[in-house]
C-alpha cells in the first residue's frame, strides 16, 4: 500500500476545515483517496495532535479545537 504523504495529510486537514466533524469514510470519499490510506493519515494526524476524536453517540474526527456543532 502507498505511504501517507504530507500532501495527503494536508488534504485531510483542508477537508476537515469545511465540516464540523466527519467519519474516516466520509473523508476518504470526499478526497477520492483509498480508505485504508486515509485511515493511516488520520491516525498520523491524531498522533501529531492535529485532530481529535469526539463522541456524539458515535465517534467522529474533527480538527483540534474546532466548534462541535454548527
Amino acid at each position: 500500500m502507498a505511504e501517507v504523504t504530507d500532501e495527503l495529510k494536508e488534504k485531510v486537514i483542508k477537508y476537515l476545515e469545511t465540516v464540523p466533524h466527519a467519519k474516516n469514510r466520509d473523508v476518504a470519499r470526499a478526497l477520492g483517496d483509498e480508505k485504508a490510506l486515509v485511515d493511516k493519515a488520520i491516525a498520523a494526524l491524531a498522533k501529531e495532535d492535529k485532530i481529535e476524536y469526539i463522541y456524539l453517540g458515535a465517534s467522529f474526527v474533527k480538527l483540534k479545537g474546532k466548534k462541535m456543532v454548527d
Partner: protein
C-alpha cells in the same frame, strides 16, 4: 509522547506454572464443594481453584488484599472470571482451606459455582453513567444479600444467571439472562431548547428516534425539536446523541424484570429474556420490591424445575401462562410485544393451559 498501541501484556507472563505446563491438556474436572474446582490434566497434574465473590466496584486496596492472598498461597497469581469473581489457583490441595480461611477474614464469600447463583453481571448506574435509570451496584448488593445462600451453596436445578442493566442499553448479557433487572424510564425526554441549539445536531437527533417521535420545533426560529409523547417509548436514544434531552425522573424511573434468557447451547438453544414485570419503582437503598420479586422467581423455579432445566427451559415446559399463574404476577398490555417483530410472539395455536 509515550508509547502507543502496545496492547495488553502477553497472558503467558500471567499464567501460574501448573497452567503453563498443562495448557491445552486438561482432562476432566470435579467440583468437590461449592466454590472449589478441581481440574485434572492428562499429565496427572491437578489444579484447584477457589472462587470468591467480589463487589466488582472495588478500591485499589481491595485488589492489594487479594494479591496478598495470592502471594501467600498461589505463587503470586490469580485470575478473574467473566462474572467478576476472583479465582485463586493452586496445585496444592492443602492450600484450598488456607485460601478459604484468608478470604473469610476479608469477608469474601466462596462460591459461585454451578448449580447456584454466581455474581451478578452489572454496569455503572448512578456511579458513573449519564444514561442510568437506576443504580446497578446498589441493586446488586441488595439482591446478592437476599440470594446469598445460592452463591455459597449449589442446590438449584441449574445455575441462575442474574444481570442488572441500569438502562435499556443493557451493557452486559442482560438480554439473555435467567433473571434480568433493567433500569427503565417511563417519561418522555424534555428538550431543553436553549441547550439543544448549542449541543445537538437537529437532523441526527431526529433520526436517532426509532419510532419517529421527534420532530422539528414548529417554530422555525427555535432551532430545536419537540417530542410527540404518544410515540415515545423512553428508549433514551435521543439523549445519547443529544445531551439536551434528559429523561431521568425520580418518579418515572424504575426497573423492569425480564426472565428466561440463556446463553449456552446446552440442551435448548440460546434464548432471550422476556419481560415479566414492566415496572417497579426505584426505592434505594435496597429496592425491596425488586429484591422480593427476584427472590420469589428463584424460589418458585427452585421448587418446580427439573434438574438441569434453566429458568427459560422450565418456563417453556410449563408455559408462560402457568408461570404467570404460579408467580401471581399480573399479565398486562405491556407484556404483549408491539415492536418490529411483535407478530412472531403471538400465540398461533390452541395449545395453552387455563
Amino acid at each position: 509522547m509515550g508509547r502507543t498501541d502496545i496492547g495488553p501484556p502477553d497472558f503467558h507472563e500471567m499464567l501460574p506454572d501448573v497452567i503453563k505446563k498443562n495448557y491445552g491438556t486438561w482432562k476432566y474436572h470435579e467440583i468437590p464443594r461449592p466454590g472449589v474446582l478441581k481440574h485434572v490434566a492428562e499429565s496427572g497434574d491437578t489444579v484447584y481453584t477457589v472462587r470468591a465473590g467480589s463487589p466488582r466496584l472495588v478500591s485499589v486496596d481491595f485488589i492489594r488484599d487479594i494479591c496478598d492472598i495470592a502471594d501467600k498461597h498461589c505463587d503470586g497469581h490469580l485470575r478473574f472470571t467473566s462474572r467478576y469473581n476472583i479465582e485463586f489457583l493452586t496445585p496444592n490441595e492443602k492450600n484450598v482451606d488456607l485460601i478459604i480461611a484468608d478470604l473469610k477474614k476479608l469477608g469474601l464469600p466462596v462460591g459461585g459455582t454451578s448449580p447456584g447463583i454466581s455474581n451478578i453481571v452489572h454496569t455503572q448506574g448512578w456511579i458513573h453513567c449519564h444514561s442510568a435509570a437506576t443504580d446497578a451496584s446498589g441493586l446488586v448488593k441488595a439482591i446478592m444479600d437476599e440470594v446469598y445462600e445460592h452463591f455459597v451453596e449449589t442446590k438449584l436445578p441449574n445455575h441462575v444467571r442474574i444481570a442488572v442493566g441500569c438502562c435499556i442499553n443493557m451493557c452486559g448479557a442482560v438480554h439473555c439472562s435467567d433473571i434480568a433487572v433493567v433500569g427503565v424510564h417511563t417519561k418522555p425526554p424534555r428538550p431543553d431548547h436553549d441547550r439543544v441549539v448549542a449541543q445537538c445536531e437537529i437532523p441526527t437527533t431526529i433520526q436517532s428516534c426509532p419510532t419517529g417521535a421527534i420532530r422539528r420545533h414548529p417554530d422555525q426560529s427555535m432551532k430545536s425539536v419537540v417530542v410527540k409523547e404518544d410515540l415515545c417509548m423512553y428508549c433514551g436514544n435521543c439523549f445519547t446523541v443529544c445531551p439536551a434531552m434528559p429523561l431521568a425522573d425520580a418518579e418515572g424511573d424504575g426497573v423492569a424484570i425480564y426472565v428466561g434468557g440463556k446463553v449456552p447451547n446446552a440442551r435448548k438453544p440460546p434464548m432471550f429474556s422476556r419481560m415479566v414485570i414492566p415496572f417497579l419503582p426505584n426505592r434505594p437503598p435496597r429496592w425491596p420490591e425488586v429484591v422480593q420479586a427476584v427472590k420469589k422467581i428463584v424460589d418458585i423455579y427452585a421448587a418446580n424445575a427439573k434438574p438441569y432445566e434453566r429458568v427459560g427451559e422450565w418456563i417453556e415446559r410449563i408455559g408462560w401462562e402457568a408461570f404467570f399463574r404460579r408467580t401471581e404476577i399480573p399479565f398486562t398490555e405491556q407484556h404483549i410485544d408491539d415492536f418490529t417483530h411483535a407478530v412472531e410472539t403471538y400465540r398461533t395455536t390452541t395449545q395453552f393451559k387455563w
